[in-house]
Amino acid sequence: MALDDNKRRYLEHLAGETFFMLGDEACAYGALFAGCDFFAGYPITPASEVAELMAKELPKSGGIYIQMEDELASMAAIVGASWTGSRTMTATSGPGFSLMQENLGYAIMTETPCVIVDVQRSGPSTGQATKPAQGDVMQARWGTHGDHNIIALAPNSGQECFDLMLDCFDLSDTYRTPVIMLMDGEIGHFRESVSMPPVAAIKHVTRKRAKSAADVFGGDELVPGMIHYGEGHNIHVTGSTHLSTGMRDVSTDHVHNKLVRRICRKIEANREQIVKVAEDITAGGKARVGVISYGATSRPALGAVKEVRDQGKDVDFLRLITIWPFARKQVTEFARDLDVILVPEMNLGQMSREIERFVGCEVVSLSKIGGVPHSVTEITQAILERIE
């Protein structure tokens, strides 16, 4: 995707600079550097700062910002806008994310690229609106109905809020699927230094284009090309089961089979290209205890791992950046020589259960809810208890 003059001018006045900002703001700047054209959203704590910054900055780069009447409308609007060829996004938190689920499923079924930022807060329901949590891990994966696959990334710093937004848009266009930026209230509201890259360093994925309306939803390709509205192809986009032409066929079993399995497979088959992990610390097979974490929790977790290692004791550490699709291969390899894996997370064990499905060793959930993040000490203690 080439930057137009307005975007280039806008980015050039920021490029190469380092600012001190909220994770939410870093995420919005990341979207601007990703060439976002359209933002539609509805305010919600702790995600509102994403919208506020987009409202201020997006018009300067030539984009359009709308505050819609609710989250259902926001999700609908970004899907509609995506079919005009725009890069589109919304931002929300748990309750709003719940409202978006039906149209998120629509975006999956119609293979519409778009980015949804979910700055998680403590739930269920209105729960603790201003407190951080990681309670939407499974909502991101299974919130909408039916069989599907999804991509979700979890940053753990302001810089990553920025950097991963570029990945979100690229993954979304590459695989023609909605991508979820799964932040949390803590990361969203941390203030940290964030560096903006030079404009020349930004490389965007260009959406693959189809030659005719007959191939927009399948043909022989795992990820078909798109045709945008107004190009004279009379394309038909529907959330109902459809043929490769887009025409509805809701009664033939093999049509549904082919479509839904392909939509799942396009992410499944590219798992290794999509999945990113970080801080893969290993004692080279000597450790019996390992820690896996992600998002805000990975920071005290990493602190604890370092502390234990400083004491001369062996402990391994892995941070998941890609939450979905699950880092199967990396986690399985990580677990190979371990007796136990500790999983600190701000929920009652959503990711630890997923890890458990793929490893042979014991998995212990260091779960914590109530809005108070894990301390380094409590994770250190948990690690030491298992080592001794």
Binding site: I64, G85, E102, G232
Partner: protein, 281 residues
């Protein structure tokens, strides 16, 4: 001998004909009138996007109308259409959907689109029932009518959707029935030519699922009723509430100029772009 091809056959996706509407359904009339209005205005169909939700009326454009189409979730077509329109203001974006879709589940999007006065044309086909799901009560079902979910009679008053949209701030609002095809065509042309939010409510027959509840079994019987029950808006002003009971007020309900949303939205962006260009020059 081959059958002669209809002059408007190019306007429909011929490959999926015949259509699936029940015999006598008003949806066919709406499609027919809409296509004629598009032809009469000489609209470029490659620059049109028709958006619809879920239900029988949603099928009018998608899949039958041959242009770019977006068949969305129940109640949300106006919200989807908003995204299309703001990013491609040059496209003519039309929503065709049912009363349940637009005024029931999607009521919130309707009033906000009218309030913003976004340049969309919304054609609401009001058959006074949930047709596709088998005849459940709708927000537009008249009081007293027995439906599958009001077996003891509907106790709720029906929604006057056109009045609601007018009050919310739409530029153009009219209401007709499938009996008034020529007036309806004129209204559709006016709506499609309005810059701003335009809304046409069409009282339409569902002989299959509504007709059977009220004892009107054919499309023709419905048309006769629509003719008898319709009152021109001018005349209605002198009539009491009692006299208007069971009647449809038809005609052009409003046609006013108001600032249009998409152009204002783009002005905000254009101004900011220009300002930044000056500052960084």
């Amino acid at each position: 001998m081959s059958t002669p091809r209809h002059r408007l056959m190019d306007f429909v996706r011929e490959e999926i004909m015949p259509h699936r509407f029940c015999t006598g359904c008003g949806c066919g009339t709406v499609l027919n009138v809409f296509i004629n209005a598009v032809e009469a205005l000489e609209l470029d169909r490659t620059k049109m996007v028709c958006v619809s939700g879920i239900g029988c009326s949603a099928w009018i454009p998608s899949p039958y109308f041959k242009a770019d189409t977006l068949h969305t979730t129940h109640g949300r077509p106006i919200a989807f259409a908003t995204g299309v329109k703001v990013m491609r203001p040059d496209l003519k974006v039309v929503v065709i959907a049912g009363d349940g879709d637009v005024s029931g589940i999607g009521g919130n999007h309707l009033i906000h689109a009218a309030r913003r006065n976004i340049d969309l044309t919304v054609i609401m086909v009001n058959n006074m029932i949930y047709g596709m799901t088998g005849g459940q009560v709708a927000p537009t079902t008249p009081t007293g009518v027995k439906t599958t979910t009001t077996p003891y009679g509907n106790i709720e008053p029906p929604f006057n959707v056109a009045d609601l949209v007018m009050a919310a701030g739409a530029s153009y609002v009219s209401r007709w029935t499938t009996y008034h095809v020529f007036q309806l065509m004129k209204a559709m042309k006016d709506a499609l030519s309005t810059e701003g939010f335009s809304f046409v409510e069409i009282m339409s027959q569902c002989p299959d699922n509504y007709g059977r509840r009220i004892g009107v079994r054919t499309g023709v019987e419905f048309l006769k009723r629509f003719k008898e029950q319709s009152v021109r808006v001018g005349k209605s002003r002198d009539m009491s509430e009692e006299e208007l009971k069971g009647k449809f007020v038809i005609g052009n309900l409003c046609n006013k100029e108001r600032p249009e949303y998409v152009s204002q939205l783009h002005k905000v962006t254009d101004d900011q772009v220009r300002q930044l260009a000056e500052e960084t020059a």
